[in-house]
Subunit: 245 residues, 2 copies
DNA sequence: CGCATAGTTGAGCACAATCAAACTTTGTGG
DNA sequence: CCACAAAGTTTGATTGTGCTCAACTATGCG
């Protein structure tokens, strides 16, 4: 099914097979989207929502000088802009980072699910609130951590999230973004992101090179990041012992 | 009604009178809560949600040294922790700033609304996504603005939100918090928040003194803050001309 | 090969943190 | 109403983190 990864590791298990089938029935895809492509521009009316099958998508806002601030990075299994369903328009832009594969769900079809399937509705609602929880952690990251901690924290988050959908193994995952993207997610300049990455590499914590992340010492990285994964609401069965140790 | 301010100026109009009555019927209050009181601690199971009638409530997370980072400030009319309904526990703490009056809605009662009232459900969902939209803007604030802009931006946001519930008039509103609270919301030290407030006062932009905010030059303040109020999803009828001019 | 994009390094500067101390306001009990 | 304590605000001096600007190197692609 297209939606096989939806809420994987995060409460998917409580959704009934009928509800899962109903959800899968309303998404159409896959559709290929090239790298660096804008999917949705802020303010435009939105009548469908986008489910990410493969690749990475970011949500961002521009400041007055045109500098981007990423506010979210979406990974496969995420309903990127399901919040557009109740809101009808978005307050930010959405774009692919690398090449991606997506599927679409019309809001009219979601209306039907909401009318007929309260439990599924609750889980769709829940999935949008997971994004909000990550937003809050990003606020913490920017408000309380220095550059080292910010980058370390983002990498810890991505490691856990990608693990839940089977895309990170032993602290290794693909992340086809530039240092500039990383800087824009962490509220630092690309120059400083570069120096920070070198510092993390020199301390044998992690490496980020040509779109590949290797975490060498997750425990130390998580300590530096003050990373506590509860906000990701992983199922108890998901192994976080490496981080929490 | 207790819930008279719910979504005031932000789509309340599309909720039917029956739905409004049904919502009002499940909240019980008012309950008085003293200043500086913890309402919910992170991780604890939550079985009811809290609606703010009067006063200010903050949501926050602590770093390893015990320093707080505020991730949200709630104003009257906000359903503070409605996101706990789908999530069942919170990833952050919730506490009053000044003294507050609240009402409670049991999650079992919300279950019933969700089963019977799809349109109201959608609006409840929507209200939690307004919080997410504000979170995103806070990320932008911390990631892209300096101390001046951060404080200016927060004040602009509060002015608009309080205007929607009738608590800000002509750029004047009560904000019974300390400079320390303000600093914790903006990711700066209290010392620097103090210096920044003086700078804003010296430039005749705004004054914050003994819990009272007076905005002297909203246009210039909003410009400094790069404040664009669309993310607050105000009804078209709400007057934002002072800001957008 | 030539160009464009991304990454790397250095020097100087600016903003904000830290530390420390004085001062002011607020609230309380005598 | 005053004395006192506690909390909050203000100021100064110093340090440090991260930004700016600029040059240079790698990498990949037509």
């Amino acid at each position: 099914m297209l939606t096989d990864l939806f809420l994987a590791g995060r409460g998917r298990g409580v959704i009934s097979p009928e509800d899962l089938a109903a959800l899968d029935a309303i998404v159409s895809g896959p559709h290929e989207v090239p790298a660096r492509t804008t999917l949705i521009r802020r303010g435009e009316p939105v009548e469908r929502s986008t489910y990410l099958l493969d690749g990475y998508v970011c949500r961002y806002m521009d400041d007055r000088q045109g500098h981007r601030q990423l506010v979210a990075i979406q990974v496969p299994g995420d309903f990127i802009d399901l919040h557009a369903y109740p809101m009808k328009r978005l307050d930010h832009d959405v774009a692919t980072l690398g090449p991606a594969r997506v599927a679409y769900a019309d809001h009219r079809a979601i209306d039907k699910l909401v009318r007929e399937r309260p439990m599924l509705t609750r889980m769709l609602w829940y999935s949008t609130l997971l994004d909000a929880a990550m937003h809050r952690e990003w606020i913490f990251r920017l408000g309380r951590l220095g550059a080292n901690g910010r980058i370390a924290h983002l990498m810890c988050e991505l490691d856990v999230r990608l693990s839940m959908v089977g895309l990170s193994k032993d602290g290794r995952f693909s992340l086809p973004i530039t240092q500039m993207d990383l800087a824009e997610a962490c509220g630092v300049t690309n120059v400083h992101a570069n120096r920070t990455l070198r510092a993390l590499r020199d301390r044998d914590l992690m490496t980020f090179k040509s779109g590949e992340v290797v975490i060498h010492n997750l425990k130390a990285l998580a300590a530096l990041a003050e990373f506590e994964p509860e906000y990701l609401y992983a199922d108890w069965s998901v192994d976080l012992s490496q981080v929490e140790g």
